[in-house]
Symmetry: C2
Subunit: 159 residues, 2 copies
């Protein structure tokens, strides 16, 4: 890939005005906790207390992260299945769209952050109970692409 931006030296607190589709989402999911909340939602967790137990996160911080994820339409709140006054959280379609991102990150972590004989959580195909295939980048016509086979182009969604 080639350098692709004429960037001025500005101290940013937000990435919303950037033309990079990696940068913009980072305001929402760029702190690790938010990504772990999304992971937990993929794993079937729905209640505040479940996230709290899973993450061991202070309630005020968890609450703020959940609110941000809801505000950005990654999670939505729904009434509790048991009819209690508590609400539950579930992934929106936008949130579900993070599945390949988390799968690829999980595989990278799996490969580089664990000893071979160390037990870790792996993503397996429910039908065959085998680990999913390595997530790959492919061209529109199906060729496998490495970083050197790609470049960045400034364009609209139509271009």
């Amino acid at each position: 890939m080639q350098p692709r931006r004429a960037g001025g030296v500005v101290k940013r607190t937000s990435h919303q005005d950037e033309s990079c589709a990696i940068a913009r989402p980072l305001d929402v999911i760029g702190d690790g906790w938010s990504l772990l909340i999304v992971r937990d939602a993929f794993d079937g967790l729905r209640r505040f207390g479940q996230f709290q137990k899973s993450l061991g996160l202070a309630k005020n911080i968890l609450s703020a992260r959940l609110q941000t994820l809801v505000a950005h339409d990654i999670l939505r709140t729904v009434p509790a299945a048991d009819g209690s006054r508590h609400h539950e959280y579930e992934l929106t379609e936008k949130g579900l769209g993070l599945f390949p991102v988390l799968a690829a990150l999980r595989q990278w972590g799996d490969q580089h952050f664990f000893a071979p004989d160390e037990v870790r959580a792996r993503l397996v195909d429910k039908e065959q109970h085998r680990p999913v295939a390595t997530v790959e980048v492919r061209s529109a016509d199906g060729r496998r692409l490495g970083p050197g086979d790609t470049e960045i182009r400034m364009t609209t969604a139509l271009g």
Copy 2:
């Protein structure tokens, strides 16, 4: 996916003792800046000053992030190509392994954080100049998998 961990409520400052391959890497790349440095490295940036100009990040923070990325074998330092005393940064094999993660994140951002007619940086195939295919999760035998087709299993790299 199903709930998969018996997690105690512990306040963590590190995810290194977790059995989740999404959590462990977050100590290294879980702050957004580190991921943007890696993005810039994929885009061909090599020098401290280039990263600084691209990211608009305070020198001490950029320096600390680069050191962490080098310490975790995601970037390595190499002598400058022009023989000057400065060194340059390049992605290691481990760092290059983040390519599908960044590609999937870029596509998700592209889809959800931009208006259709807004210009954004897209990843295209150098050969055909077309955007790369949507990154997907597939089974070992090539079936396309959604979140509901997968589950988490605790296993070693061999299982």
